[in-house]
């Protein structure tokens, strides 16, 4: 009769169940933080690209026809993809929150607005637009949204650093917790370690028992944490899509291939961290005995 050899370490006990929960929770948080960091990166790219290519030109003392002529002039400037004068309706819509639905008095001098979209690689486009308008005799101001774009970039940089710091902190915490738990497990099973040691087991042999145990624990706990993170993100995506018109500037959550890769890698990293921490802890502890 062939039987399967029992593990030389006893089955998991309550301490390992608690550790499983802690590692799973840390992996869940780390996966969410990693996904948030990635979304923030994506949003940062999209927002800055959107803002940096856009210019708003305001013409003082010009009517709709003059604005259309100026837009045509701007469309011919090198590096301009599109230039379009705002209609009265569009201007009224922009001013509606302040002036109500009745519109503006006809004699109120309101600047005409032209929206200009530049090519991605157009250098110094704002200055060239301004020069073209002044040479044509327009009283115009060109707004490159530089201040707002700078604020967005600063805010996104802080968000990225915060997200990456959280990922790093959670990862370090998980490793420290695992190392501490391994040491506790080793102390709790000192009798087994002693018997193996006296029976002639090499340090590497004993360490490999703990490494295997904690590799599997980290892998399983990490998988549970990653799956819960996956479910959470899926729910957030569903919720954000149900209120899509109000998401505004929030980072767009997604579950594309890189996101799934993050979720797959999380348990592997947790398992490896647990295995390495266990190996180092056991080898160090064994070196304190003969």
């Amino acid at each position: 009769m062939k039987t399967r050899e029992s593990s030389l370490l006893p089955l998991e006990d309550a301490r390992e169940a608690a550790l499983f929960f802690v590692v799973g929770a840390l992996c869940f948080l780390a996966a969410l933080a990693a996904l948030s960091a990635k979304s923030t990166y994506g949003a940062a790219r999209a927002w800055t690209a959107e803002v940096e290519g856009e210019f708003t030109v305001s013409l003082s003392g010009a009517d709709a026809a003059a604005a259309d002529a100026a837009a045509r002039l701007l469309a011919q400037v090198d590096g301009v993809k599109e230039a379009r004068a705002f209609s009265d309706g569009e201007i009224n819509a922009l001013l509606e929150p302040n002036f109500g639905r009745s519109g503006l008095p006809a004699d109120l001098p309101v600047p005409r607005l032209i929206a200009v979209t530049g090519e991605a690689d157009a250098d110094d486009l704002g200055a060239r637009l301004s020069t073209a308008l002044h040479e044509a005799g327009y009283d115009a101001a060109v707004d490159a949204h530089a201040e707002w774009a700078g604020d967005v970039r600063n805010m996104l940089s802080v968000s990225r650093i915060a997200a990456l710091s959280i990922v790093a902190l959670l990862s370090a915490t998980a490793i420290a917790v695992i190392a501490f738990a391994t040491h506790a497990a080793l102390l709790a099973r000192r009798d087994i370690v002693d018997v193996l040691h006296i029976a002639g087991a090499k340090d590497r042999f004993i360490a490999s028992l703990f490494e295997r145990r904690f590799w599997l624990l980290g892998l399983r706990a990490g998988t549970v944490g990653a799956l819960v993170a996956l479910a959470s993100v899926a729910i957030l995506i569903a919720l954000s899509r149900s209120g899509a018109e109000r998401t505004g500037l929030l980072p767009q959550l997604s579950l594309d291939f890189p996101d799934l890769a993050v979720l797959v890698v999380t348990p592997v990293i947790a398992g490896l961290a647990a295995r390495i921490a266990a190996g180092i802890t056991v080898m160090r502890s064994l070196r304190t005995v003969m």
Binding site: E5, D191, V195, L196, H197, G200, A201
Partner: protein
């Protein structure tokens, strides 16, 4: 011309040279101990409780380095040996602990097989040997029982089977009869002697059971005040004796 005999070339199984032991900053438990156990010898170690018997045995099975002096096993000084070579030496030593130290999550069979697994043997290689050994110690029907379901005497025999399953060169037993009745004690002592006689295993038994010691013709070392003195007997290998030192036993 001097006649050459085989035992002239034999290394001592155990050699202690000026060995002392103290834990941390406490007083010395063992002081300047010299001891030689020849291969195939059978000896007792005795002394009052707390005299340091278990500490001396710890030195012999390489669980504790001495504070001073040198412990040599099978001709190899252990103080400068790399860890892997210490492990290799430990595999040549079988230990019966006073408190058995069986692993509670393993069956009797698995406990006995443990040293063989440590040595990297496959179950197909050792299964029959382990089963036969457990049958030999009267536990053929209790192979797959866990220690908690075994009596004290049964656990003792599992511990002994584990200690001898690798056919060690040196067998160290710490109070092996302390938890069993006199009949079982006699049976176990006979088992140790059989191992010594049949396999040439060097045996040293720590006990404070003077009645047991008196029944057996073997050298007795006594520990008192940290010093070791030989009280009786010669250290010649019992395997070469003509008489059975256990003949007076029940």
């Amino acid at each position: 011309m001097t006649q050459l005999r085989p035992d002239m070339f034999e290394e001592a199984a155990v050699r202690l040279d000026g060995v002392s032991l103290r834990y941390d900053s406490s007083e010395e438990i063992l002081s300047g101990i010299d001891l030689v156990l020849k291969p195939g010898s059978f000896s007792f170690l005795t002394g009052a409780s707390g005299a340091g018997k278990s500490s001396l045995l710890k030195l012999l099975y390489l669980a504790q380095p001495p504070s001073r002096g040198e412990v040599s096993l099978f001709g190899r000084p252990t103080s400068r040996l790399p860890r892997d070579q210490l492990s290799a030496l430990r595999r040549r030593v079988g230990v019966v602990f006073q408190e058995f130290r069986l692993l509670g999550h393993l069956t009797a069979y698995e406990n006995v097989a443990l040293p063989l697994r440590v040595m990297g043997r496959k179950e197909t290689q050792y299964r029959r040997d382990v089963e036969e050994l457990l049958s030999w110690v009267g536990l053929g029907e209790r192979l797959h029982k866990r220690p908690e379901t075994l009596s004290g005497g049964e656990q003792q025999r599992v511990a002994i089977a584990r200690a001898v399953v690798t056919q060690p060169n040196l067998l160290i037993a710490d109070e092996p009869t302390g938890n069993v009745d006199p009949d079982m004690a006699a049976r176990l002592m006979r088992l140790f002697f059989e191992l010594n006689k049949r396999l040439g295993t060097t045996v040293i038994i720590a006990t404070h059971d003077l009645g047991l010691i008196r029944q057996i013709d073997a050298p007795v070392f006594r520990l008192a005040d940290g010093l070791l003195v030989q009280e009786s007997g010669a250290t010649t290998p019992t395997a070469r004796r003509r008489t059975d030192p256990l003949k007076a036993m029940p």
